[in-house]
Symmetry: C2
Subunit: 446 residues, 2 copies
């Protein structure tokens, strides 16, 4: 019997997931502004038969730029460039449903899918924060529920646009002078609460039917959206219980909505700190902690928790009386829930919590030898609480090289990870079926 | 004394500028949906030391898809992929100022500029047509003047964003743990009639200072915009008089606005039909005409002129009494003016006009041997009525190969076209200076 297979994406988070990654010895601190950085990592990911490379995003500066890199280059542009330098690895880019138009988003991912031979995926995010809002003409961040309602309709429109061309609508028939068959091209004709989009899309149907839709909902609204539209779902889980609860909740929600459980691939985030020995891994982890100025770490945590910096004392517990119920908090609820859960469960001081978070978004950090990392990965997949992981190496590209060289061979030896791609599209890699074309009626259409 | 140098872009218009290009013998009719098509042409352009490759665009289907290819893949995504496959050639993509947000556009071009080492250019268009409007939630095309007012403010915001980082704001100073200097990063803090954009942009200053701004204004509003913001200006001119009038008008408008004449590079469109002999060129031209179904050509012209198809009779003159004054016409005034000028000047029947237009947007078509094409190019540049041309080969890639193999060596031999790139950025190729950083006051900024 075949063992459950592991799916792996690599998240190219600038110089690495840790706040001090850019200062790590040997790291080029500004490499993430160059194409070579992305191409180098994507080629290694392809060599290691990863499902995809992944780019997070937000259209605003939210970090304190004195201390670390930040979301910068626009992901669809970066991954288009990466597409030209790779052949098989999937390409997942984040674009906001709050600050874009559905026609443009549908078109950019359909274009990326054409150019890459069917390797594109769209990570739908609703984009927390007033900074982004202020870059798009809004005084304040749109209300949480409103962002999710918009996201749901946004994805609906995008999918209608992706279905505007029947698979055989493009002919290119020179002899019979028929370039395309307009009878097989249908307007989206979407007229909803938030969007009016006529269509049709001006890009033929995607090589993989539709680009893969990725989501990372953590809040109540977010989980509902993920279960409804997500084909790959990122999550942050520090413990088996959290992972198990999320996995079962999302899959059962999806099934309740008429989807098949296997049409949803759930990938928790996994930050790795790899050493040849346990001691070396621990030493690396120690160095990564030291590279983050403590005054910065404290200010960032205060901002993420929505409290004044004065309310946090390094050697005291969190100021629980000041913290909102996670479901009531605005902003990114993923981080909020994870951080509070971690601090409460392990009774951490602020200093200890900062160390556990590593300057990241609250994802699980595993420190150890390649064997230990492989064990951690296989354990959750075997237990059926993850379909694989969204890998966030501590330092890029070095920490990812260590994973490819050290961990991937172990996963392959144990028969849980492919040794070569069996298909050509991102859907093939993920084991997701190609969606049937959704025929549209012409109701209300021109 | 050095002769005036020729600047050349190649416009990758799907399978070529003619309506029947996709049916030309040897042409792959659906190549323009593949990355290889763009990479192949861009690499040849680079080998021939062209200034740039250029992609037109419109976010809607406007063509009758039965008969010809259409604007499809999103240009910034396509050129990002091309960036990874080339090293020197410039990359100019069209994006609409009517159906995008300034922060997103500023960011995509700044990203493309980072990835390509300073080779990006943005062709600002206002996008005529109800089809595009209906894809972005509008019942009708925004009024002509309103589109140009929006475009002017849009470019202003984009440039503020491109200037939000001082050239030395990015530090990457590991030892002193300073990633960037926030004192050198400024909000755009734009609060205008149409846009409120706080900034700063989350991309450091472009390798070429700012991406190059390209414009193609033909109407009164369009010329005003081109003279104000355009660094490269595309135009359609059928005759020396038209080219001369446009060239002098734009340069003098620019100078009146405080710009230097040499900061504006004016490139008329040039469609080429090349044959080893005059007879072969004429034969090729004949075949290209035959490949367009006449019923389609007639319907398209009627639509472009805004009249019913019944109003056009193939062997009669244009129905002048039905045609609006070009300045009053909506839609693309470039085409309208050119077509009417051509028909009136040469007293053409509808059939003759269709043949002269070749199914394109009204650009000048030169048919002949490589020597004749080179003569035509040098003539206008020597006369000071063009700084070079926006080349639109009849058939792609074949017609462009003929240009590179046949015409470029002649231009080089005559000393009017570079034999190698002297610089690395698009600005270098165009002879445009790198703009000084525009310091922003913090007025009204956070």
């Amino acid at each position: 019997m075949t063992r459950r297979q592991v799916h792996l994406n690599v998240n190219i988070l600038n110089a690495g997931v840790f706040g001090g990654s850019w200062r790590f010895p040997g790291t080029d601190p500004v490499a993430s502004f160059t194409l070579d950085h992305y191409v180098r990592i994507a080629r290694r990911a392809e060599e290691a038969t990863f499902d995809a490379v992944f780019l997070a995003d937000g259209p605003a500066i939210r970090e304190d730029l004195r201390y670390r890199p930040f979301n910068s280059l626009e992901p669809s542009v970066v991954l288009a460039a990466v597409a030209a330098a790779t052949r098989r690895v999937g390409l997942i880019a984040t674009l906001s449903s709050s600050y874009n138009d559905p026609y443009d988003v549908a078109r950019r991912f359909a274009s990326l899918d054409q150019l890459s031979g069917g390797r594109s995926g769209w990570n739908v995010v609703t984009t927390a924060g007033t900074e982004a809002a202020a870059n798009f003409g809004y005084d304040a961040e749109p209300e949480h529920a409103a962002r999710y309602e918009r996201a749901a309709e946004f994805v609906e429109v995008v999918r209608k646009l992706w279905n505007s061309w029947e698979p055989d609508a493009l002919l290119g028939d020179k002899a019979n002078r028929r370039f395309a068959d307009p009878g097989k091209i249908h307007p989206a004709a979407h007229h909803g609460a938030r969007f009016d989009v006529e269509g049709a899309l001006n890009v033929p149907r995607s090589p993989q039917g539709e680009p893969v839709v990725v989501q990372a909902g953590a809040s109540k609204d977010g989980r509902a959206l993920a279960a409804r539209v997500g084909e790959v779902i990122f999550t942050a889980a520090q413990t088996e219980d959290e992972a198990d609860e999320y996995y079962r909740d999302i899959k059962s929600r999806a099934v309740a909505l008429g989807r098949r459980a296997e049409d949803v691939v759930i990938l928790p985030g996994l930050s790795t700190v790899i050493g040849a020995t346990e001691a070396q891994a621990a030493e690396r982890r120690e160095l990564l902690a030291e590279l983050v100025p403590p005054e910065y770490a404290l200010a960032r945590l205060a901002s993420q928790l929505g409290v004044e910096q004065d309310a946090l004392a390094l050697d005291s517990p969190l100021p629980w009386h000041l913290l909102a119920d996670p479901d009531e908090a605005g902003g990114s609820q993923t981080f909020y829930k994870i951080a509070l859960g971690l601090a409460r469960r392990e009774n951490l001081t602020v200093r200890q919590l900062l160390r556990r978070l590593g300057g990241g978004a609250g994802h699980r950090i595993v420190t150890g030898t390649p064997e230990q990392i492989a064990d951690a990965i296989i354990d959750w997949v075997d237990k059926g609480i993850a379909d694989g992981f969204n890998l966030m190496p501590d330092v890029l590209p070095g920490g990812f090289d260590d994973f490819v060289d050290g961990v991937v061979p172990i996963l392959r030896r144990r028969g849980v990870f492919r040794t070569e791609y069996s298909g050509t599209t991102l859907r093939d890699h993920l084991g997701l079926r190609t969606p049937d074309h959704v025929a549209r009626r012409h109701e209300g259409a021109a």
